[in-house]
């Protein structure tokens, strides 16, 4: 019986300790963002990697999500003659929820894991120690560009996902399900508030910060060679994905 309490206790303490360290990394990163000079070369490199190269993934995700959303909601709404509102549902769901969350999860898988792997490999080959000995702060040099890039790029990617989602929904509704295109677009436009879009993009920013912080944290704290890097990569994806889903609830409750 005591063993159980011991186990839970150790787990809770470890959880709190890790959360504290992640928070410290986050705060240090924010601090270094505001300390000049800004490394624009690295920032642009990261924006290209995190943003530009994630576009195809996000477009496909957004497009197909919008399509299946249209399909499902049509089937449901038809039962009480509300098929006309499929457009509204697709638009609101994409902008408020699915755009930011699914983009976040895809980017977490793609970018979060890469950050953990790259920084983790640097850590186990003493490259991060080498940075330190050259009087270069690893957080300023490695974490800040990745953090800023993900923060800037996530809302843009989400916007792409939103647009593709609405487009996908339109295509399915009009071409497959025979809805009136004018009505579909009208319903999309009438019931979509700017707030829905803005808050969705704000959520995306928060998810971006989570992805970068967790990815870099796991990388920098890698121990133990190849196995360690593998663990760090897996943890980065799993933890940031879970955090995105958890944070999603609280942010939504606060904003909407």
């Amino acid at each position: 019986m005591l063993g159980l309490f011991d186990f839970i206790g150790v787990w809770i303490l470890r959880f709190l300790e890790e959360s504290g360290r992640v928070m410290i990394l986050f705060l240090k990163t924010v601090h270094f963002i505001f300390r000049p000079p800004l490394d624009t070369r690295n920032l642009l490199k990261q924006i290209e990697y995190v943003g530009v190269k994630s576009i195809p993934v996000v477009l496909i995700t957004g497009g197909f999500t919008g399509m299946v959303l249209a399909l499902q909601s049509y089937t449901g709404f038809k039962r009480f003659n509300a098929e006309a509102f499929v457009g509204t549902v697709v638009a609101l769901s994409m902008t408020r929820e699915l755009g930011p969350v699914l983009s976040g999860l895809m980017v977490s898988g793609r970018v979060g894991s890469a950050m953990a792997a790259e920084l983790g490999t640097m850590q186990v080959t003493e490259q991060i120690d080498a940075l330190y000995t050259l009087a270069i702060n690893p957080i300023k040099y490695l974490v800040v560009p990745r953090f800023l890039a993900t923060l800037i790029v996530m809302p843009i990617l989400t916007a792409f996902a939103d647009v593709l989602g609405i487009l996908g929904g339109y295509l399915i509704s009009v071409l497959l399900l025979g809805s009136n295109p004018t009505i579909y677009l009208r319903r999309t436009y009438d019931y979509l508030d700017l707030e829905d879009i803005y808050f969705g993009l704000l959520k995306a920013c928060i998810f971006g910060m989570i992805i970068a912080t967790i990815g870099c944290y796991q990388g920098i704290n890698t121990r133990g060679g190849a196995e360690g890097v593998g663990k760090a990569t897996t943890n980065a994806v799993v933890i940031s994905s879970l955090l995105i889903l958890v944070a999603n609830y609280f942010v939504t409750a606060l904003l909407f």
Binding site: T125, T133, A135, I136
Partner: protein, 280 residues
Amino acid sequence: MMEETKGPNGKVCRTHNEPMIVIKEVHKSFGENRVLRGVTLEVKCGETMVVIGGSGTGKSVLLKWIIGLLRHDRGEIYVDGQGISHLKEKEWNALLSKFGMVFQRDALFDSITIWENVGFGLRQHTHLTDEEIKAIAIEKLKLVGLENVEDRMPAEISGGMRKRVSLARAIAMEPAIILYDEPTTGLDPIMANVINDLMVRMREKLDVTSIVITHDMESAYHIADHIAMLYRGEIIEAGTPEQIKNSSNEIVRQFIHGEVEGPITKGADFGQEHLTSHRR
């Protein structure tokens, strides 16, 4: 930005008998594991101090701790007369500019070219243009005997070359002190001697103080002004290479002669008996 360490005659050390690094009674533990148990060591300006010891005796910990990668639990360290235990970040960065470090596994940044590696510190801390930095990098690479490699990537060159690039990077900012973590480990005998010669040349040409940790005794005798042996977290003997060679300390003798049996390995089972009985 960077403190000037060069004296009036252009040399780094004002006089060659002044202590450059003084380590007093340093303790460092990792949890239950007491790695350093009261290390005391003095390195004079311009000299090469070699710290020898078996694997896992705390040599790397000592080196990393000197340059501040680790914080010690107890003890004092003075660099060029300045106590460094309680420095603020700006002061610490100024101090770091006095150091260059060559890592055991090179620790070159693999996503950038050789010249970008060598000039990395310059790029971050000076306002020199890329052309100027590349020129300095090429010059430092020449000093370590490398030519026409500046545009290659670290993965494209051999281990011996990478080690030399690592040294070029360490000296690019013209430090007063160079730390070497097992510089000849993993190199073939010829390349090891190339590195040994380079370390001696660094001292002569650049007037640097060096601390080398190694278990390569030939390298140690070749390059050292003084040798100190670290055993179980303490310095058990220190002296000139001649004094160490003729040491009466059993532990030192076992180590430098590489004897399998002796006080260091008493009680340890390396499986020899098992091997011999198998042969029968």
